[in-house]
């Protein structure tokens, strides 16, 4: 595994690439990620972004939030546009980092074909999916990653299907690097980006991104909810390099715990889960317990 820097609030770069004030909703997990992520990516990078909350956040003329060159493409084409940009950059002899940054709809649903193609070609780009688990920009419709039972405006009785496990789908393509992150651990995201920059080929980073209006919680709860998802073992932070999976610290420390907090605590922090029945919650808990039993076998073998 490639070793990475360990950034903390004291040595985090003070240079800002995001202007103060943007059009994100208050409490937006994405705005944390965007600000801290750009510090890791630095000035020598360019972005490809599909229609998403991120395009809204960038602002309307003349009030723009970002200092970076951004190509706002069409919904289905993020990884494909990035492919063209990357190829042209290489031909021009430039090492500029090409970063595709899309939401869960633009990645798991309409954009998955373009992403899969780029993965197969192992394009030398960083692809970031900020997953707020529904189409938030258009007013909270279900997406491929909306969790089972989740209420959205197009699942008024709760989503029947399980959400896609996108990082695992990506990992099945065997790209150079896969990592999961959380908006609640922005420095973990920062350092994984630093690492991704050192690796050639496609680097995929998937971030669980709490969304107060979409998830039904107070704006001040964003970070707490993201942490709760990890603490109960529902969402895991990990990296996959050369096909080898390794849990990141916030998740790795759970291996030592005999019992994790129940998923119920996480679910009850958000109104989007209020249609879940006790049986559904029990099934969800069983899946988490099984996953961690498997993790203990996998990571605590010695």
């Amino acid at each position: 595994m490639t070793t990475a820097a360990k950034t903390n609030v004291l040595n985090l770069s003070t240079e800002e690439f995001v202007h103060p004030g943007n059009r994100a909703c208050s409490g937006c997990g994405l705005s944390i990620l965007y600000r801290i992520g750009l510090k890791a990516l630095g000035r020598d990078c360019i972005f490809v972004v599909p229609p998403s909350c991120l395009t809204v956040m960038q602002g309307l003329f003349p009030i723009a939030a970002s200092q970076m060159p951004i190509l706002n493409g069409t919904f289905a084409s993020t990884a494909a546009i990035a492919t063209g940009v990357r190829a042209a950059m290489k031909r021009r002899g430039k090492q500029t980092q090409v970063v595709a940054w899309a939401g869960d709809g633009g990645t798991a649903d309409i954009g998955i074909q373009a992403l899969s193609g780029a993965l197969e070609r192992n394009e030398d780009i960083i692809y970031i999916c900020y997953d707020n688990e529904a189409y938030m920009n258009t007013g909270v419709q279900r997406s491929g990653t909306t969790p089972q039972g989740g209420l959205t405006t197009t699942t008024p009785y709760g989503k029947k299907e399980q959400g896609k496990n996108l990082p695992e789908i990506v990992a099945a393509h065997n790209p150079a690097y896969v990592a999961t992150c959380s908006a609640s651990y922005p420095l973990d995201f920062h350092d994984k980006l630093l690492k991704a920059k050192q690796i050639s080929g496609l680097k995929y980073i998937h971030i669980q991104t709490p969304c107060p209006p979409g998830w039904g919680c107070e704006e001040r709860m964003t970070v707490k909810i993201g942490k709760a998802a990890i603490d109960c073992g529902l969402f895991d932070l990990y990296e996959i390099e050369d096909g080898k999976k390794q849990l990141s610290e916030p998740s790795r420390k759970l291996l030592k715990k005999a019992k994790l907090p129940s998923v119920q605590e996480y679910l009850s922090m958000q109104t989007r889960f209020k249609a879940l029945s006790d049986e559904q919650i029990a099934v969800m808990q069983e899946r988490i317990d099984q996953k961690w039993a498997d993790y203990r076998q996998e990571f605590c073998a010695e």
Binding site: F75, D109, I110, T138, G139, Q141, T154, Y157
Partner: protein, 377 residues
Amino acid sequence: MAKKVALLQGNTACAYGALYAGCNFFGGYPITPSTEVAEVLSEELPKIGGKFIQMEDEIGAMASVIGASLTGQKALTATSGPGVSLKQELIGYACIAETPCVIINVMRGGPSTGMPTGPGQSDVQQAKWGTHGDHPVIALVPASCQEIFSETVRAFNLAEKYRMPVQVLYDEIVGHMRERIEFPEPGELEVIDREAPSCSPEDYKPFDPSNGDVPPLAAFGSEYRFHVTGLNKAADGFPTTKAELVDAEQRRQLRKIDANIADIESYEEYQTDDAEVVIFAYGSTSRSARYAVNELRKEGVKAGLFRPITLWPFPEKRVAELAQQAKAIIVPELNLGQMNLEVERVAKGACEIIGIHRVDGEPINPGQIMAQVKEVV
């Protein structure tokens, strides 16, 4: 008994119109400014045993509608400009496979992402020419919430009757405004279902032209077993490259429209009897135009409004007559000149055609139209 009334948004009216028409399948994808159609149906369709599916993208949404319709459901999708662009290949497929379905296009600015929350009327030519190849086209352009309801019903009727996709286009202003709606009683509006085959399954040919231009459609997957393809096909549905069959097939498709203009056509005229200046306007723009006509009449100006409700096929005959009668036809549209070209083509130089075009995300106001009319008279 008093009718049920409600204050509804245009998109909500569309959803209830679809339910009135017997829609029992919706396949869609979120896109502003049409998403409310999906949202309402996600709640209402399960209540009547219908199926709502949010698909993985716009292409999937259109494809699911075709699959569901061929298999015997009344199927709907709703989208906006970028979504319609993605659906185009399948709209052509629905034409050649003669699959009844309804596509709602709540128009915003374009091209591409354009102005998602602003109004536009920039897809009116796309509705006719968007998919490749010669194909029949029906497009309806309602201008009020009540009319969105009734035109959605009519769209289903025309789709079922002529076995083809029907598009309903209304701009974001009509889609998002709220008006009082009277719900028609069951039976008050005609509801047409596709003609089922009267022959035995063994004798059934899905595209047999011998009994008229619209062959009956059996439910795919029923005891009527047949082949469906996007290739040019013979009467039994299998592909053919025989010149005379391909030619006859394509001409029959267009004849479904050309031979039934009177049935499909729909328009409204307001104060056109003695009009010296006729305003040709559709959708939200026609509401400004009607206001302008009223104000101009007060000032003694002989202005009138011609409002197409069926935009395609184009109301050629009547527009040509009005061109003979009027000094000028004014065409206000939220695009940079689309239907004015069609009006020009039909008028054949009989009168002046003047476009008023706006693509800045703002509506065309009555004052703009009045000023143009006064300039003419």
